[in-house]
Symmetry: C2
Subunit: 202 residues, 2 copies
Amino acid sequence: MQSRSPASRTGRPRSAAADAAILAATRAALVELGWSKLTLGDVATRAGVAKTTLYRRWAGKNELVVDAVAELFDELELPDSGSLAADIEGVVLQFATILARPEAKSGLMAVVSEATRDDALRERIRASVVERQKRLVLAGRSRAQARGELPPEPDAEAAARTADLIFDMVAGAVVHRTLVSAEPADEEWVRSFTRVLLQGLT
Amino acid sequence: MQSRSPASRTGRPRSAAADAAILAATRAALVELGWSKLTLGDVATRAGVAKTTLYRRWAGKNELVVDAVAELFDELELPDSGSLAADIEGVVLQFATILARPEAKSGLMAVVSEATRDDALRERIRASVVERQKRLVLAGRSRAQARGELPPEPDAEAAARTADLIFDMVAGAVVHRTLVSAEPADEEWVRSFTRVLLQGLT
DNA sequence: GCGTTACGCTACGTCTCGTAGCGAAAGCCC
DNA sequence: GGGCTTTCGCTACGAGACGTAGCGTAACGC
């Protein structure tokens, strides 16, 4: 969602239902057609809105798909399973499950690819997907430090670097396993991965 | 390159120079235009061939870019630096350097995205990029095992699984760091990453 | 009711796609 | 050299998506 200018309190308000319908239609189109064959005209028809309405809210296909996919990851939550290993396994498995869905698979990588030449788009992805879910890493770590499973970081900067590294390793490995190797990131794989990661962090 | 039927020994042979020119033109177009704005007509013009010639050799944009990008990774080689940590750091840094190039960035992720709905394309990627470079993991490991830095695997199946896991972790982390986090995978980052990975494997 | 903004609809020029058809060129074999 | 086969360059084409403009209507706040 782009921040509409807060001064605009007059006139007909934008339909929130239309936003939801458009994003849902985008995901449905991603499932059926994939990124490359998805057209904005088709999305508009599915959502029951005019094509012009769609263009008034999003700059293009890229921004629309980022918003549609970002919602998928909001259902992630950190389980409170008592041990760091189980916490990581739980979150990684959830992440893998979401990423296995076709709308996430074909949508996410496509916009990441586009973002290599579009700074604004990359920032949009970072803010609405990555930074939003980094909370899981931070919460899991502080919980583990309270239990004494992880050593405290020497300073704030090092803590941020480590969190970034963990995020890159977790997200990267799951994405590569799922999309490139095209093998399921199932429980057995998650256990092996967690063991390597956890042993490396202590 | 698709395997032309070996029985066709008659007629005018295909120009090998044209193949090279097309792949080079594809990389140049990826640099200047990126994936989404790259058109096959433009590539043909750059390469100095007719558009029809291009369609006679490749099924479409996806296959062409896979071949063009795959060549980039052939320059990877395993340094013989004496220790496993230095070997890994060297390869990861090479990989990161290649991936930082714009033609690799925008091309690779785009075809991976397309491959989520195209089994043949995914297999093409796997064969010409992933499987081709997995040699580095295998060579590095056997060398480290000979030096006693890594324990021998119990059986062949477990060895293959571990190799796959390592590949997913290395490639995934570098890709995520470079493309999503959009931070350089420089020497400092590579050292941190290698430390975590290596400690997790022993 | 009045001003303002969002909406649906239609129409349009532009671009890329992928293919078809043609004559010419470049090899092999006799 | 002549014939056969396949590739090549070129042109042209219909199809489809893009993104925008213009218009009349609908929905809100004051």
